[in-house]
Amino acid sequence: MTMSTKPLQGLRIAITGGTSGLGLALVEALLARGAAVAFVARQAPRVEAVAARLPGTHGIAGDVSRKEEIHPLALRVTAALGGLDVLINNASSLGPVPLAPLADTECEELEAALATNLLGPFRLTRALLGALAAAAREGRPALVINISSDAATTPYPGWGAYGTSKAALLHLSRIWDQELRPHGVRVQAIDPGDMDTPLHALAVPDADPAGLKPPAVAATEIVHFIAALARREATRESRDPAPATPA
């Protein structure tokens, strides 16, 4: 077990939407590289199946779009991992299926997309911010990764609910990163690219999978991003032995 094969050894990582697509690939990739992993997904049977297949992971059934579930989820995450270093807000809702022009999008469909893609990450991050800041004070990397999309920056017709919610999530990430840097917590939005996932299949049912990125490849890229940031933070800690107290 060397640093090169276990670059995330000891990192405590939680991920939402962890039973399919990119989320599942991330759970597998993070576990393989030594992280302690808790994952959240809506359907209890699938959560149990993934947790049983990947011993050592902590499966948590819950819906991040529901306000009253957020604090119980946050409690279970930190109880399972004994704290938290990295939160990956990955769970996403496409909005209307099949995709629809905004003018044909029901208000409730837009609200549902915002609840999962914007309010859920906001609320869960806020509930877990104490744990992340505690990790930062102890000199550990503290990071929130919000899974974004090129639909956050490009106005694709038909992707109104999804693109709007992801654009808001991207901006939320930028502002929060500015505000939380002084507390040692970073917030980053990552666009993993077009992947061969159930969500993409819902959006573009006739897409050729050969033209899409396998989720495992995107997961590996995100693992490298986390590992690089963790190394940077470790360097910062060794330079500054008392980060809790300003000089």
Partner: protein, 359 residues
């Protein structure tokens, strides 16, 4: 004393009575707390998240309803959640004052309690018929899932509406470890934490399993606080040494922080990082060794919380403070106003805090 009944952690009109050494007491806005600290001071808070520790259910041998309030734990280890100390209540809920609640049915070793999705077996009572040692069935993840789904925050009869978990988590809440909220920490928000940095004031945390504050039973209340596990991060030990070396003050946010730090300061070899169990009960005969000032809520005389204040100030002064809080209309209880009390007794001489970060 007026009880604060709305569960707002930081009402805009929250007040702070500043009582420092020269006895020029000041009525201040609580959000302005950083202005009353000095560059080089260190504010230390309890970052425990509050467990929804009230579990309704059935005492299976009798078929009678019970409310179990989780109250104690051996350690803060995430997987150490099977064996818990609890206080049992009979039928009824928080709308009845705890003093007037029905007692639980007689509890005997081996009795099983069905608490929503959770099953607990009574191991033994702990010197009082309502104070019990429980063993929960299942894995640690399953027990936490049951508590998260079925538990409710411990409620207060004086509150206007039932408290949700978000009402009782402080802004810095991290590991679920407190059975009742470390409510002095309601003063904290991220704007205030930034203001501390801007003024050169340090901020650090420890995690302390704040226990139950009152049970309504005088014999039981006399035993509070129970032993409480805490964890002292190495960064906090370093920050304390750093502040003390520069003649900065250690300002505890709440009685739980005070208890943990004073307990830690009395350990052989002095303050060291890592897990521990607070057994110390602070009062007039336990001079403070580490904590210089306290930010605390406003509570009535006679409570274990109030007893701890006697370590900071003599009884005549505390009586004057109580009278001033009453006269000036300060709101009491968890969501009430606050007091910044600077230690009035001379510190026990302690040339330097031994520094041994271990974890």
């Amino acid at each position: 004393m007026r009880a604060a009944i709305q569960p707002r952690q930081r009402p805009p009109d929250a007040r702070l009575l500043v009582v420092d050494g020269d006895e020029r007491w000041r009525d201040e806005r609580r959000a302005a707390l950083p202005a009353h600290l000095h560059a080089g001071d260190l504010l230390v808070a309890n970052d425990a998240a509050t467990i929804p520790a009230s579990l309704g259910g059935i005492h299976l041998p009798s078929g009678e309803p019970v409310e179990i309030r989780l109250a104690g734990r051996r350690s803060l280890a995430a997987n150490d959640v099977r064996e818990l100390t609890a206080v049992a209540f009979g039928a009824g809920d928080h709308r009845t004052r705890t003093e007037d609640r029905k007692p639980p049915p007689p509890l005997r070793p081996g009795d099983t309690l069905a608490l929503g999705p959770l099953r607990a077996t009574l191991r033994h009572t702990l010197g009082h018929p309502r104070l019990v040692a429980l063993r929960f069935a299942g894995t640690a993840d399953e027990i936490w899932a049951g508590i998260a789904r079925h538990g409710r925050p411990i409620q207060y009869a004086h509150a206007a509406a039932p408290l949700a978990l978000w009402d009782v988590w402080t802004a810095v809440a991290a590991l679920p470890a407190a059975f009742e909220p470390p409510s002095a920490g309601f003063v904290l928000d991220w704007r205030l934490l930034r203001a501390l940095v801007a003024r050169g004031i340090g901020f650090a945390t420890l995690t302390h399993a704040a226990g139950i504050s009152s049970t309504g039973d005088p014999a039981l209340d006399a035993r509070l606080p129970l032993d409480e596990p805490y964890h002292l991060p190495s960064a906090t030990v370093r920050a304390i040494a750093h502040a003390k070396a520069r003649a900065g003050r250690v300002v505890a946010v709440g009685t739980t922080v005070t208890r943990a730090l004073e307990d830690a300061a009395r350990r052989p070899g002095g303050l060291r990082a890592g897990p521990s169990l607070a057994t110390l009960r602070l009062g007039p005969h336990t001079p403070l060794r580490l904590v210089d000032a306290l930010v605390t809520g406003v509570h009535e005389p006679g409570t274990s919380h109030h007893e701890l204040l006697r370590a900071f100030a003599g009884d005549p002064l505390l009586a004057r403070i109580d009278a001033a809080l009453e006269r000036r209309g300060y709101r009491g209880h968890e969501f009430g106003d606050s007091l910044l009390l600077v230690r009035q007794r001379p510190a026990v001489p302690q040339p330097a805090v031994p520094l041994r970060p271990t974890g």
